[in-house]
């Protein structure tokens, strides 16, 4: 039996499980896979984290150095988020410059951090118009077991929470924590047939018509959303996803108290 047929059968199986309110790995619809966050793993980086979410693994490194502010925000620090889907992490990823999917992931991670105001960028100004801190967040995906979005987002926040401004190195005062104000958490739901499941595995992603990422902050308000995929969602589905995502984010945020 060919791989293609196997894979089609597997998809049908997952699809039919969803109808029966079951998942292939036995999880409930709102359950996440095991989540392990380690920080401070790269000592050349100002902040770093390794996130394992089931079979997915990402490493995030944060580098911080002085630079020139953007002309339209002369008194604010700069955040630059990069993510590549390198072929080490999956047989489906290709070499070369980041493509659509990688760019979308990076931009959603970036907006989650930026729009939630989780970093107080005005405190990253050294000299208005001249010198501000540039915060480079680099997400390195090592193993694609599904739901890279949440793993990347969690890794970015974990790395930032433990990052230090290397002020001494640049003769700009004493080292300090990054001015963090909030802990936005991304929660991704997938639509499989009519079922909505959280934290889709790679197998579930292959059958999901659409994914919806909802980023919420510590007050339980929304700081970012992104629909990804071609299947439409009804208003009811959308509202339901927002509700369970906010709830789940609170649960996951607890993890960060341990860091």
């Amino acid at each position: 039996m060919s791989n293609e047929i196997m894979s089609e059968l597997r998809k049908d199986y997952i699809y039919n499980l969803a109808i029966k309110e079951e998942r292939v790995d036995g999880r409930g619809f709102k359950d996440y896979r095991e989540l392990v966050i380690e920080t401070g793993i790269i000592n050349k980086a100002e902040g770093s984290a390794r996130v394992r979410l089931g079979k997915t693994e990402v490493v995030v490194g944060v580098k911080i150095q002085p630079g020139t502010p953007f002309p339209d925000t002369p008194d604010k620090g700069v955040i630059i988020t990069s993510l590549e889907l390198i072929p080490l992490a999956s047989p489906e990823f290709e070499s070369g410059p980041p493509r659509e999917d990688a760019i979308e992931l990076a931009r959603v991670v970036d907006r989650g951090i930026r729009e939630s105001g989780s970093i107080d960028l005005s405190k990253l100004c050294v000299e208005a118009g001249e010198k501000v801190w540039m915060v480079f967040i680099d997400v390195h995906v090592l193993d694609d077991g599904g739901n890279i979005m949440d793993a990347a987002s969690l890794g970015a926040i974990a790395a930032l929470l433990t990052a230090k401004l290397p002020a001494e190195r640049y003769g700009l005062g004493t080292d300090a924590d990054l001015p963090m104000r909030d802990v936005p958490v991304a929660v991704t739901a997938a639509l499989i047939g009519g079922a909505i499941v959280l934290d889709p595995s790679i197998e579930e992603e292959a059958v999901a018509g659409t994914r919806m990422t909802v980023i919420s902050n510590q007050e339980g308000a929304l700081s970012g959303m992104q629909k990804s995929g071609t299947a439409p969602l009804t208003t009811e589905q959308m509202n339901y996803i927002v509700d369970i995502a906010i709830e789940k984010a609170k649960e996951i945020r607890e993890k960060f108290l341990e860091i």
């Binding site: 992104q226 629909k227 990804s228 439409p232 509202n239």
Partner: protein
């Protein structure tokens, strides 16, 4: 322009609109000769052109799908479309906009009718004034119909946002720059959501109300899209019967 003190005074926005009012919209169908379908759209200060080619052969070949057509969408901003000249060529933002816009339209296209072929959508923003991705989707949806691509529905798009802690429909440039949230939404004519993105800060309740506002705006745009297509087709029909 720097941030205004107030965006809404006595229930009226700085550009004179009510909180749930769209900017003026003008569709022109079939404006290009070479494209299979096309549409020019002015939506507030946005000026966009959409062109559709296809179904046609796929190059490079390895991108073909054996059971469906592939849909490609290229959103581009002209370098002169914004205040500070934009470097020509694709960037990360246009790449993301192209992706979500494609996914906003793909579910309404009968892609299974054209295996191994491509449906190419090109959107050029000639003048930008907040809401260009919604404008692009509105124009592209009409251009697809103009090209005769079989579709289950038109797709209509607009953004809802928040300024002065108030939800407002179809943000203009200043409301977008200095506002608290921006949420572009695209829906089918049945109100199913094919695109939703959100930046900024919304409570869960604001989100739900905002989504209804956006859907209402989309419903109005849908009427305009339909009217523009009807006008084009009746003109063509007339032209033919006069021949």
């Amino acid at each position: 322009m720097s941030k205004p003190e107030k965006f809404i005074e006595d229930g009226i926005r700085l550009d004179g609109r009510k909180f749930d009012e769209l900017r003026p919209i003008k569709f022109e169908v079939g404006v290009l000769n070479r494209a299979d379908g096309s549409c020019y759209l002015e939506m507030g200060g946005n000026k966009v052109v959409a062109a559709v080619y296809g179904p046609r052969e796929v190059h490079p070949r390895h991108m073909q799908k054996s059971t469906t057509a592939i849909v490609r969408y290229k959103y581009n901003m002209a370098s002169f479309s914004v205040e500070d000249r934009k470097r020509p060529g694709p960037d990360r933002r246009s790449s993301e906009v192209s992706k979500v816009s494609r996914q906003a339209l793909e579910p309404v296209i009968f892609v299974e009718k054209y295996p191994r072929s491509a449906i190419d959508i090109f959107v050029e923003v000639l003048q930008a004034d907040a809401g260009t991705r919604a404008a692009g989707i509105n124009a592209a949806s009409v251009a697809l119909a103009d090209a005769g691509i079989p579709m289950k529905s038109l797709v209509s798009a607009c953004a809802v946002g928040k300024v002065d802690d108030t939800l407002v429909l179809d943000l203009n440039k200043d409301e977008d720059n200095y506002g608290q949230a921006d949420m572009p939404v695209a829906v089918t004519q049945n109100g199913n959501i094919t695109l939703l993105q959100m930046d900024g800060h919304l409570t869960s309740d604001e989100f739900k109300i905002g989504l209804e506002m956006a859907k209402k705006g989309c419903a109005d745009i849908y009427q305009m899209q339909k009217a523009a297509l009807m006008a084009k087709f009746s003109k063509s029909a007339e032209a033919e019967s006069n021949e």
